[in-house]
Symmetry: C2
């Protein structure tokens, strides 16, 4: 098959890890007889420097014409205090909205050989295998009004958490579909004892669960969920929640297995191509030093093969290669223990390419 991939390296280590991912994609294409064509686009701080715009229209067009988007990472202290309130993250928020990527999927799986690196006890995290399904184009992130406003004669500010029922339905359906092909348990996270949007959310889940009789559904308050992720993460299979709650919980969850540098994510919509990116940030402190762990970006590329191109065998080949390389003891600095042999970004990528 022939596929067009939009590649948005972004900032910091984004460049390096995206390069690693395309190297692995090329090898996969060669082995399985596919053709991947890359179109590069600017996003984030780097794009502000070049175009004074974190998300030029050209980048959006490139993405819309592609079959899948691979993103590195966005942001850095260099662009933290620009005049006019322009910020690299607007590129990320903007592309999500432009492509209508309403579902952010963040699988958290422990590689047994790495759980030592977690701050949680081994018996608590060994075998964790959950996915957070985060609503990504609504909720508190995008609701209007979002503004400065005079309140009672003084300065004030407002953000709005807004959902239409159809927005809740499509993300909850996504989560049910995932739960159906996994361990058949769905935890819907909300704050229904305080928020009106959460009550609508909970009602909607209750209505929809009739379409998925095989899936066990539980509602959990977001404060409790943040406790339970630490107390007993193995209780979870699929979690579905509002944009901001998902942002907070998925970052907490990414700490569980000691493998933040390894976690991929997918953001998908119903029409446009999906966007795939590592969970880790742009890590400007190690930019350009060959120290970045490329495995999260590589695993994100595998998710693209699976979700956007329906190339399951190919995706599995990459995931298996990652596991083999880890089992063989190869490590980048971020996941190394005392006696490990530390590989550079490029060396690690080569190991994965060899293992495929």
């Amino acid at each position: 098959m022939k596929k067009k991939i939009a590649v948005l390296p972004g900032d910091g280590i984004g460049l390096e890890v995206v390069k690693a991912a395309t190297t692995v994609l090329d090898k996969t294409a060669e082995l399985f007889g596919h053709q991947f064509e890359y179109q590069y686009g600017d996003i984030g701080g780097h794009s502000i420097d070049k175009h004074n715009d974190p998300l030029p229209q050209e980048t959006i067009d490139t993405c819309l014409k592609s079959d899948g988007v691979l993103l590195g990472a966005v942001g850095g202290p260099k662009w933290d205090n620009l005049p006019g309130g322009i910020r690299p993250e607007q590129g990320l928020l903007g592309i999500r909205k432009a492509l209508q990527l309403f579902a952010n999927l963040r699988p958290v799986t422990g590689h047994e050989s790495l759980t030592e690196a977690s701050t949680l006890k081994k018996e608590v995290v060994d075998g964790v295998d959950l996915v957070i399904v985060r609503e990504l184009t609504g909720g508190l992130y995008f609701g209007e009004p979002k503004e400065r406003r005079e309140i009672d004669g003084e300065e004030g500010a407002v953000d709005s958490l807004i959902y239409k029922k159809s927005e809740i339905e499509r993300i909850v359906r996504q989560a049910f579909e995932m739960a159906k092909v996994r361990r058949k348990k769905l935890t819907s996270v909300d704050k229904a004892n305080v928020l009106e949007t959460s009550r609508l959310w909970r009602e909607t889940v209750e209505e929809m669960k009739q379409d998925y009789p095989e899936v066990e559904v539980e509602h959990m308050l977001v404060d409790n969920a943040s406790m339970q992720l630490i107390r007993d993460p193995k209780q979870f299979d699929v979690m579905v929640t509002e944009n901001t709650f998902g942002d907070i919980l998925s970052d907490a969850a990414s700490m569980l297995t000691g493998s933040l540098g390894m976690l991929p994510s997918a953001s998908i919509g119903s029409e446009a191509p999906g966007l795939y990116e590592p969970v880790h940030g742009s890590a400007p402190d190690i930019e350009g030093q060959g120290k970045a762990n490329p495995l999260a970006a590589i695993a994100s590329a595998a998710m693209m093969l699976k979700y956007s191109f329906h190339m399951h065998e190919e995706a599995d080949a990459i995931d298996t290669a990652i596991s083999e390389v880890l089992n063989a003891g190869y490590r980048t600095g971020d996941i190394a223990q005392n006696n490990d042999n530390i590989l550079s970004t490029e060396e690690m990528t080569t190991k994965v390419v060899e293992a495929i």
Copy 2:
């Protein structure tokens, strides 16, 4: 001194742990020559049963006439689906608003003898000593509009996150004052890359830090904060944040030290009496069985002595007694390891009374 204490046992184990706390207060009064007079009030589910109202005006009046309020816990499955959307938690939200308790203080300290019970590694949590200062009467909890609303011809819902600058100032000042007498580090948690209220929050902290040159100030995004609490909780001294963020983060933090059953909290305002309550919930599953751990309620009573009555010596006497009892190996079921001798709520209370 003579002090009036409003006592609101609430639901579930609230009754038992509040009884334990007043027993310890009585002993303290006797030893230090004070007089504590208790006025009881109804709140929560129990109050719905009795008055069809989770917070009768009489309860508010009792609290307003008191020097400090001691609360047990509120809620339970029995009242989860009442007609008309009446909920026990409205009692809690209502009393916070009625007494204008804008600051919720949640200290998280590990008792070294208990950190084994944490799901985090001992070296990560031993020595954790942080306070979360949560804004409690504004933000996403109370902003209007908060309603069902037709949006684009379909059902929808709205909540509003609203702050006036003065609301941010008073909670941030509270946090600075605490940091000043502790380890002099303040972490302000927000989501300034997405929320307008967070940007106002961050600006306000930046302006106010000039009044506290001795305090080191750092800003942290809420998603990162939820990671850092798990990765390295010892980095924190005082954290200050919005109502909902504080709800989520403080529950996560309460898991760190393995002593959820031991954590107290204080909610204070500028005029009205402060309200003191254990962090744990009403635990209806063990209600009335003498299994509840009374130490969180007892420690909350100690916080009342300290913050509302300025009885520092008395508060220290209680805290020391709790530590001694724990060091001597006494445990309630929730914090017991295999070979511990398990005490009932009453027996544990007696041990503390004896140790004072």
